[in-house]
């Protein structure tokens, strides 16, 4: 029996890995898209897609941390928290630049707390993360309705708009923010004790606890952070949208953040993944969505497609063990 040469086997692993497939798909879609609809791959459109991707990318960063932490972690309240961030931000700042800092702080406090409650439900009450966070999102909806029911939500202040979509050196501000965030994530994962503890917990939470990690506290904090990131993203998103047009503005972020994280090569079991992969994943998904719109696939079928993509991805990377071990 001939053994496949090491080089060939290594090449096969690389080709099968998401970090290779995702960028490749991006190029393919850009190429095909440009043929079908010339101008698809223009720098203008790409920057537009990047801008939308950056919001997705930020939220996915929070989701990324949760998934990395293992324990089947997943946060499905992120979409509603984005909406909440936008609304609270708008209400507190009242379109005044001067109130922006106060508004941001309020958003942070509120969404971080909600995230902590999620974390507490998951770690202490052992409620499955998917179920806990989904239930929490109902509570968030109630809060949103309460705020918008009584008070009208003003739009974004000028400064906020400038920060997010205003161009510096031809590039919209939000992209700088995203880039900074990516650098921060890289630093967090690679050069902080928190990062090591996080990856250890995701790899094997029992071993992590034996190595001195307080797994419960860590996982609870993770949900706080992901909620907070989603809230801040919503705050910034308001700057992009300029005004709150309806209260389901954040809904799409939930599913997309999950898919982006998995497409980016993060293992659903935890302990493995890179934020760079998530960045590519976020971009790829927006690109796909754009492409589907261009070839006139309607909203409902796009939804079906994304659901199938999720299933296919879990099929490839997320299956459970066989019965006879």
């Amino acid at each position: 029996m001939k053994k496949t040469p090491l080089a060939l086997r290594k090449a096969k692993t690389i080709i099968k890995s998401p970090s290779f497939i995702a960028p490749l798909l991006c190029l393919i879609i850009l190429f095909v898209g440009n043929i079908i609809s010339p101008g698809f791959a223009s720098s203008e459109l790409i920057i537009n897609i990047l801008v939308v991707s950056s919001f997705v990318g930020l939220v996915s960063g929070g989701q990324f941390l949760i998934v990395l932490g293992g324990g089947n972690g997943l946060d499905l309240s992120l979409g509603k928290l984005v909406t909440l961030g936008a609304i609270v931000g708008g209400v507190i700042s009242q379109k005044q630049d001067a109130n922006l800092i106060l508004a941001l702080l309020t958003v942070i406090v509120v969404t971080f707390t909600i995230g902590l409650i999620n974390g507490f439900g998951v770690t202490f009450f052992r409620i499955p993360p998917l179920v806990m966070t989904m239930s929490m999102s109902i509570v968030v909806v109630a809060i949103i309705k309460f705020i918008t029911g009584g008070i009208g939500v003003p739009g974004a202040s000028k400064l906020l708009q400038k920060i997010t979509v205003g161009k510096f050196l031809g590039i919209p501000g939000i992209l700088y923010i995203w880039a900074l965030f990516a650098v921060f994530m890289h630093f967090l994962i690679n050069n902080t004790t928190f990062g090591i503890k996080l990856l250890a917990t995701g790899t094997n939470d029992y071993t992590a606890s034996l190595a001195g990690v307080n797994v419960t506290r860590l996982r609870t904090l993770l949900y706080g952070f992901s909620g907070m990131i989603a809230g801040i993203t919503g705050f910034l998103y308001l700057g992009y949208l300029a005004s709150v047009y309806n209260i389901s503005l954040g809904d799409k972020f939930t599913l997309i953040s999950v898919i982006a994280v998995v497409v980016g090569g993060t293992s659903l079991g935890g302990g493995k993944g890179s934020y760079f992969g998530v960045v590519i994943g976020a971009f790829l998904l927006q690109l796909m969505d754009s492409f589907l719109v261009t070839i006139r696939i309607e909203q409902s079928m796009r939804q079906v497609l994304f659901g199938i993509i999720l299933l296919v991805i879990i099929l490839m990377y997320g299956r459970e063990r066989k019965m006879q071990n």
Partner: protein, 514 residues
Amino acid sequence: MVIFKATGVNKRYGEVVALDNMNFSLEESEIHYLVGVNGCGKTTLCKIVAGVVSPDGGKLEIFGEEVSSMTPNEAKKKGIAVVYQELSLIPQLSIEDNIMLGIEPREKSLGLIDRKTHREKAYEALRPFEKVIPFDDEYLEKLVADIPIDEQQIVEIAKALARKPRLIIFDEATASLHKQQVEVFFSILRDLKKSGVSTIVISHKMKEITEIGDRVTIIRSGRLVNTVNVKDVNADQVIQMMVGDKELLERQSSSSVKEDAETVLEVKNLSSEKIKEVSFSLKKGEILGLGGLQGQGQTDVLLTLFGSKSCKVEFFKIGGEEVDLGSATKAMSHSLAYISGDRKKAGIFSKRPILENLIISYLIKYKRKIFLRKNMRQQVLPLLAQIDTVFGKLSDNADSLSGGNQQKIVIGRWLMTNPAILLLDDSTKGIDVGATKEFYDIMHSLCEAGMSVIWHSSEDLELLNNTDRILVFDNGMIVDELVGERLSETELYRAALDTKKAHEVVGQGDRDED
């Protein structure tokens, strides 16, 4: 008539040889005991009989048929049943439902369960135990989760009996039973024998073997030592065959315990899930062994000390002061370190880089928040050299290392935290001889430098060669302490198997509650 025969059977798991040219035969209507020291291969042999494991080589003959391998389902269909120590019961179902699971009798017409026959058959299966359990409808409806462990074991046995097997394997099935229940177990074995069923019993209770066994097979290091008729041997001879004529190897080095060494650790009345009121103390530089058969509570002692398992204790004293060891972090802060032998589940982060595996506990203990990889690399390299670790790059994943080197990484992790007391939980399991010797050398040099070690191992020779004292465990309690001349394998097994009572016949003596 021989109903099961294994000839020249081999089985290895990676580097470890479980069975080597094993020959075994089982007669009809026989009660056949399998004995041997920890890890000798008896469980592997039974797994082969039950179809759970397939042999690498050799011949198997079952009920006259030659087979090369079997699946568990095929084994069941042939009438082979197993009663493991780890139960296959469903806690949320009733006793009756558990016993009849998968073999429920049905009415022909609608496919409904014939509840009357269902209950009758459950009673039938439990009948042998009717004197030691409540034998009524209310009991049968109780959930398995709500009955104590010994009754659960009984239900597990009844479940096997209900399937009317021709061959039953009992793997340490009496471990949780008390005296009266064991008597019942004996009468079941006798009844089975009468009705033509053969039984293989794995047990370490010498008194059982002499009381009821027909033949006994002694296995050592995966090889057959002998198969003898029980009436031709006594307990001491059996132990001698289990243990062999090995000479005690030269002790690794002289003891590092100084005459006036202080007591570094004191434990009083420690109880947890598996242990009961354990007390002992540890001196500076001492290596204290935890011996006895596997699973008698040794691991629980270590885990409770390390704050990773809940427990009740009168006190833990380190350096004379009472301390709280309620979590791993707290234990770490008191300079304890825990090294498990189950590297995959409790030691190594396989898909993480070696560097991260090494520095994690250090960072946590000394409360470092951020670090530079370059600096940590420099800090770590001399340590790895000191313990002779062979590796590629620090950024390689930990699972790229051999077992022995993986273990060194775990040691390295803890050395970085400057521990005073090392808790070793069967840490050389599955490691090759060379790396194991290096491990012993490292431990001894650490003790020279003042560290103290509590060492649990399933390998008796390892304990005997490396420790200053051995606490022998049985059923969660310390039954003996071996020191000096009594540090021999025979003594170890005498204590572990409670052979002093081997010549007592069960039934005589106290009949009152145990």
